[in-house]
């Protein structure tokens, strides 16, 4: 038997063996040939030996009727085609021949392999066999996937040959496996394409087809379909109900992936159900399946737990009575145990049972796990007032064990409990002080010091205790030092005796003179001045009542973000608890997340996502001036202004969010366009931004300083470079005296254009019932990034060509935070319709330059705007050069980019 014990091929390392193999490959004996190829393949793929010199010999073997040998040759090809593209052409004949083989297995093999070889020369030959394969019932399933592969290598070819339409037709296929793979392929193409909606419009007809295919599909096909369905926005109550009804039986599937994807679809659709009782009923139906997932393989349990964690934030009652299933078994892997602790939701009813479990866990061996258990006890105390006392007594028991890390973690937790219930449990401080000497972790130390300072008047020897810490003041971490400083001040204010006075002098001296830490020094100076000028007001400041902390049990993300996560159930995103753009490189979804759905998410960046702007739309069309949704909008804008203001005042411009390492763009802020005195009592402020459906809109705030109602607003724009014109009016909006009204005025590119040079200025005329229909005029500068067109993507070659013949240019340098990387810039601008040209080529050739292209709206053909951003080797500088064909744009884009990046 030839295939027995392939292991021996792994060890052969003789010299000259390659030559030997070559001879064998040409041996007339088929088995010998096969063995030789097998050796070559194994050597290449696993041992890592270079056997590319055998390329021609091996490829020639492909013309054989032995399936096994053919598969080996194909494996070899996949491995080497990339490095030997010219030779790979040799294989085309074999492929073409095989793709017409009478045996469907071989046809499928050929199509599959060809797709894997991402060499452009081969790809060209792929189209023909692929067309044929798509017609052939047996090979369709493989071919469908192959279209996705082809799209990866050459998207234009897919469009040219109409493969996407083919795929869409395959959704009607009689064979469910074909349907499933077509769904998968379409989903992938949709994710990669820049205009997502044109590929798989998930209309109710397609959804109906998919739902019908669910019953017939293989398990994996069901997963593909369910995942696709999860992004379907059903048409209201009934649509959602229909989808849920068809998906519900999937909860009984033995495959966990099918179950979890079904849960996802249902959770997403629940959003559209109006009847809360029905929602409750459906949520209850999900519970048993979620529980059963916890008996699957440990890794699946982990995924399930991370997901349940999200689901219970939305529906806290869903597993209320099932808390037991989250209790740890001795043999659970540590990653499961940790997640279980996080998921246990204590309630008043189960608290005793839960506490008993946590106590048990805190005796375990794994330090991290034990710490989590102790923290969990603290969370119980903070969230359930009635249980606080019981929790504290458990913590005290733990402190008595004298196990170092348990004691330290308990003290940190007790500090939190004190902050939640001030002046209630200080009787236990004495027990805490006993373990003072054993503390060595900064967090535990500073917690203990905080407690001493806070309750200094009740601790007789508080002075002594603090003094002990002060001996090593300079060696402590800043966290502990700061706490020591504050606590000593508190002690002094509470007990202004000589002892504390010496202490405070000591600590102020050390903190101001002997340390380099500016935070510590500055805080010490502040205290010093306070104490020396007015001890009474120092008391008011330092000993002021602090707000008690609240239950952070669920540390729940805002609802919008949570909803975003729920749409991601069972994916990596739901495990990391991060939205995909944060970890998927070059995710086009980013565009939609940031911008697609809502105007106001602009400001909140990635944290806010996927808001439905339904209500706002209503305002725009002026049907209903419901005050509630307005609040949202206002908040959004305020936030924006605040952020901008803050960063301007700060010493250094902080561009990156330290947590996510994503930098934020500075969007233009609202400015006053028409002041009250010029507008005879009508004040208008606003900004042009990108709204829903990617079109620009005017976010306006109209303030009425007169004593009468103002309504019948009409806006008109003068000729402008962008051909902007309002596409709706606000004639039904009404502003009461001394009130403000916020609205979105939708704009389109249907206006008429001004002269040849581009200018950012927009002249606006407003007419209203106010002042007997007198017309007021104002000027606004249009932020270029708000009006750029989505079709601004350019291939690199085209970019270079245009770059060289552009007529207008602007070059400047500016200072920059070092956190800004080319990747980050590309990702951020993508959402503004400023596109990177072939990111691959930039990363290989010139690591420090980014090429961006954009297209401005306007009457001319050549509205291209090209930008090159060079990250100079001196950290912190970058050079922006921009070119265009129409005078003005180069200048304008530079200003926009500079503002977006720097906030200037």
């Amino acid at each position: 038997m030839t295939s027995r014990s392939d292991a021996r091929y792994f060890t052969s390392q003789k010299k000259g063996e390659v030559a030997e193999w070559r001879d064998e490959i040409h041996d007339p004996d088929r088995d010998k040939r096969k063995n030789a190829v097998k050796k070559a393949v194994i050597a290449a793929m696993t041992v890592g030996k270079d056997v590319s010199m055998l390329f021609t010999d091996v490829v020639n073997c492909g013309q054989t009727d032995s399936v096994e040998l053919k598969k080996l040759v194909y494996l070899y090809l996949i491995n080497y085609a990339k490095t030997q593209p010219d030779l790979a052409i040799l294989a085309v004949n074999t492929f073409v021949k095989d793709s017409q083989d009478p045996n469907p297995l071989i046809r499928a093999l050929a199509v599959r392999t060809m797709g894997c070889i991402r060499v452009s020369k081969i790809i060209e030959y792929l189209c023909d066999p692929l067309h044929k394969a798509l017609l052939d019932p047996y090979v369709r399933k493989t071919a469908a996937i192959c279209v996705a592969k082809l799209y990866d290598a050459g998207p234009e070819m897919v469009t040219e040959h109409g493969f996407v339409d083919h795929l869409r037709e395959l959704l009607d296929d009689s064979n469910p496996m074909v349907v499933a793979n077509s769904v998968a392929a379409l989903a992938e193409i949709r994710e990669k394409s820049c205009s997502p909606d044109s590929t798989v419009g998930l209309d109710s007809k397609v959804v109906h087809k998919l739902l019908a295919a669910l019953n017939e599909c293989t398990e994996w096909g069901q997963v593909f379909i369910l995942d696709t369905l999860s992004s379907y926005v059903s048409q209201g109550d009934q649509g959602a109900e229909r989808v849920i009804e068809r998906v519900l039986p999937r909860l009984q599937h033995a495959n966990c992936a099918v179950v979890l994807s079904a849960v996802k679809v249902i959770v997403v659709q629940l959003e559209d159900l109006r009847d809360p009782a029905r929602v409750q009923q459906l949520v209850r139906k999900l519970a048993p399946s979620l529980v059963t997932l916890l008996s699957a393989e440990a890794e699946i349990q982990y995924v399930a737990l991370r997901n349940i964690n999200l689901i219970i934030q939305k529906y806290p009652d869903i597993l209320k009575s099932e808390v037991k299933v989250f209790f740890c078994k001795y043999n659970d892997p540590i990653f499961v145990k940790q997640e279980k602790i996080e998921t246990i939701l204590a309630t008043e009813r189960n608290i005793d049972q839960v506490l008993l479990e946590f106590k048990e866990y805190s005796k375990e061996v794994d330090v991290e796990f034990v710490k989590k258990a102790v923290q969990a006890i603290g969370r119980c105390a903070i969230s359930i007032e009635q249980a606080a006392e019981r929790c504290i007594s458990v913590l005290l028991e733990l402190i008595e064990t004298k196990v170092n890390y348990v004691v330290q973690e308990s003290i940190v937790v007790i500090k939190h409990i004190f902050r939640r219930y001030p002046n209630q449990y200080e009787g236990i401080i004495e027990c805490l002080c006993d373990s003072l000497d054993t503390l060595d972790e900064p967090e535990a130390k500073s917690s203990m010091i905080w407690i001493i300072g806070e309750y200094a008047e009740r601790i007789d020897n508080a002075e002594e205790l603090l003094e002990a810490f002060l001996d090593t003041f300079l060696e402590e971490t800043p966290e502990v030092q700061l706490q020591l400083l504050t606590s000593t001040v508190k002690l002094f204010l509470k007990k202004p005796a000589t002892g504390p006075q010496i202490l405070i002098q000591n600590v102020l001296h050390q903190a101001t003179i002997e340390t380099d830490n500016p935070d510590l020094r500055d805080r010490a100076f502040v205290y010093w001045r306070l104490l020396s000028s007015d001890p009474e007001s120092a008391k008011d400041v330092v000993l002021a009542m602090k707000p008690t902390i609240r239950d952070d049990l669920t540390n729940s993300p805002q609802t919008e973000l949570l909803q975003g996560f729920l749409r991601q159930l069972s994916t990596l995103s739901s495990i990391y608890h991060k939205l995909p753009p944060l970890f998927v490189p070059h995710d086009p979804l980013r565009t939609r997340l940031l911008y697609g759905q809502s105007g106001e998410t602009k400001n909140t960046g990635l944290d806010g996502s996927l808001t439905n702007l339904h209500e706002n739309q209503e305002i725009v069309s002026g049907k209903k001036a419901n005050p509630d949704p307005l609040v949202d909008l206002m908040d959004g804008t305020n936030l924006k202004e605040e952020k901008l203001g803050n960063s301007k005042n700060a010493d250094t411009i902080q561009l990156a969010d330290p947590v996510t390492n994503e930098f934020r763009l500075f969007y233009p802020s609202e400015s006053t366009l028409l002041s009250a005195d010029k507008g005879a009592g009508l004040e208008i402020s606003g900004v042009i931004m990108r709204g829903e459906d990617n079109l620009p809109c005017y976010s306006l705030k109209l303030t009425n300083h007169t004593s009468v109602h103002i309504d019948h607003f009409q806006f008109q724009f003068n000729k402008n470079s962008f051909m902007l014109a309002p596409c709706s009016q606000l004639q039904y909006s009404k502003v009461a005296p001394n009130e403000s009204f916020r609205c979105l005025l939708r704009l389109s590119f249907s206006g008429s254009s001004s002269e040849k040079t581009a200018s950012p200025w927009l002249q606006v005329a407003v007419k209203s019932s106010h002042q007997c229909g007198e017309v007021f005029y104002f000027n606004d500068r249009v932020p270029l990034e708000s009006v750029l067109l989505p079709e601004g993507r350019l291939e690199y070659e085209k970019f270079v060509q245009l770059w060289n013949c552009a007529t207008d240019e602007y070059v400047a340098q500016c200072q920059m935070s070092e956190l800004l990387t080319p990747e980050a810039v590309i990702r951020a601008f993508d959402s503004l319709n400023v596109f990177a040209c072939s990111p691959a080529s930039f990363s290989e050739s010139d690591n420090s330059s980014v090429y961006l292209s954009a297209k401005a709206p306007g009457p001319h053909e050549e509205q291209w705007i090209l930008v090159k951003i060079t990250f100079t080797s001196t950290v912190g500088y970058l050079e922006i050069s921009s070119r265009s064909f129409i005078k003005g744009y180069a200048d304008m884009i530079y200003n926009s980019l500079r503002r977006l990046l720097l906030g200037l």
Binding site: N175, E299, Y576
Partner: protein, 438 residues
């Protein structure tokens, strides 16, 4: 929008994290990633921070995610760049292990011995990173270990059929179905003797030796089903908390009228799994243990076992594992039933009882000497405190009360098939936490 489980590369590594084989489907992962993964695992193991090791990990520098499982010293690692369906990917990896086991019985050694066939399999089970076809039985019809075949094998119809789990043209002399109802009881009892959690997982294991394309229908004493079919609920009926079916069962039909109808795969498979909370059922075997330390150098264990089931039933193969201190020596044991052995390498006493009737109570006492200088003093590392575990089987009995009412087989040729049903209850994760007294 998420794309369905898209895995770019699969690596199989041995216990020392050496690469056994890999298959690259999408070519978008740098080869350095596998080394980064290995380095990361080693690092965490050295730092003894195993809690950092999760089955799904993100590598922020390479912007890839590692999704992996371990099985008998093997690592199956998938690397992906996209926001893939992790549940699907992990399920797929486990399914892959099942397929390999179906082919090679033992795993680790077989990977290298069967290099070529594994590549062939990988080619079939996944395409471009999408799971395709993972029915081991059907796969083995067209990807075979024997390599000498003059006629090129054809893909069985089943691969693309709606019934992808069964080939046509199966023939048996005698048509039979064996149905085992196997329930395993999971229980956690804390040191105070309170039941922390008790649930039972049941499986209906079918071995179908049937010709042609048989239509099967199964009836259980499921309360909801009986209700749905307006049957009188005479006799005992049970309400199951959750049910999962093999993909051959028509789920829509089940949702509709609770009928379990299916065309079975050939041979053995799990038709259905269910879960039922047994919090109200007295644990079938109850264990109480006390640990006494009369002096520093002595420790004494007293274990009491009670059987809470009908006296006509027998628990067989009872095996109770009692963890003892790692430094205990010279055991003195006496027991009323069965044999007790001290197994120092497991730091435990193994008490084996061939069979025991219901309604009995038996005792076991064990005394040990401890070294005079004990690690009891502070500063010693925290000792693991494993629970008492117990294994047993009770034939002819289901703890949930599930019963098979009928199993009908219909086939075009109209043959009569004989169904055989067996019941058995077993221990699953059956643990009693023990207060070790230190």
């Amino acid at each position: 929008m998420t794309s369905p489980a898209v895995c770019s590369v699969l690596h199989i590594l041995d216990g020392n994290m050496k690469k056994l084989l890999s298959r690259d489907w999408r070519g978008d992962i740098s080869p350095a990633c596998i080394d980064r993964f290995v380095a990361r695992v080693w690092q965490t193991l050295y730092a003894e921070s195993e809690s950092e090791l999760k089955p799904v990990m993100y590598d922020s520098d390479a912007e890839v995610s590692y999704v992996y499982i371990t099985h008998n010293n093997l690592y199956l690692l998938a690397i992906t760049k996209s926001n893939c369906n992790a549940a699907a990917l992990l399920t797929f990896l486990h399914r892959l292990v099942d397929i390999f086991r179906h082919y090679f019985k033992t795993l680790e050694e077989s990977i290298r011995d069967n290099f070529v066939i594994i590549y062939e399999l990988l080619d079939e089970v996944m395409d471009n990173g999408y799971p395709q076809f993972t029915e081991a039985k059907i796969l083995s019809e067209f990807i075979t270990v024997g390599a000498h075949q003059l006629i090129a094998p054809k893909a069985p119809m089943a691969v693309t059929n709606a019934v992808s789990w069964r080939s046509e043209g199966i023939r048996y002399q005698k048509n039979e179905v064996f149905l085992d109802v196997v329930e395993s009881l999971n229980i956690v009892v804390n040191a105070a003797g309170q039941v922390v959690n008790s649930e039972t997982f049941g499986a209906l294991r079918l071995r179908a030796y049937l010709s042609g394309m048989p239509e099967c229908k199964l009836g259980l004493n499921d309360k909801i089903m009986l209700h749905a079919q307006n049957r009188s609920t005479k006799g005992k009926s049970v309400e199951l908390d959750d049910i999962k079916f093999h993909q051959c069962v028509r789920l829509a039909r089940f949702e509709n009228d609770r009928t379990i109808s299916f065309i079975p795969p050939d041979g053995h498979f799990d038709l259905m799994n269910y879960r039922i909370s047994t919090a109200n059922v007295k644990p079938l075997i109850w264990i109480e243990a006390s640990v006494n330390r009369p002096s520093r150098s002595r420790v004494e264990y007293v274990v009491k076992v009670r059987t809470h089931f009908k006296s006509r039933l027998q628990a067989t193969g009872v095996e109770i594992k009692l963890p003892v201190s790692s430094d205990a020596t010279s055991p003195e044991v006496n027991t009323g039933l069965g044999s007790v052995a001290y197994v120092p390498e497991q730091e435990a006493m193994l008490w084996k009882i061939k069979s025991v009737q219901g309604g009995k109570e038996i005792m076991m006492r064990a005394k040990f000497s401890l070294p005079s200088v004990s690690a009891l003093e502070d500063d010693g590392p925290v000792q693991k405190k494993p629970p008492i575990t117990c294994k047993f089987e009770i034939p002819y009995y289901t703890v949930s009360g599930v019963q098979v009412r009928y199993l009908k087989v219909l086939e075009r040729s109209g043959y009569q098939a004989l169904p055989w049903v067996r019941y058995i209850t077993k221990s699953g994760n059956y643990e009693f936490r023990l207060d070790h007294g230190y």
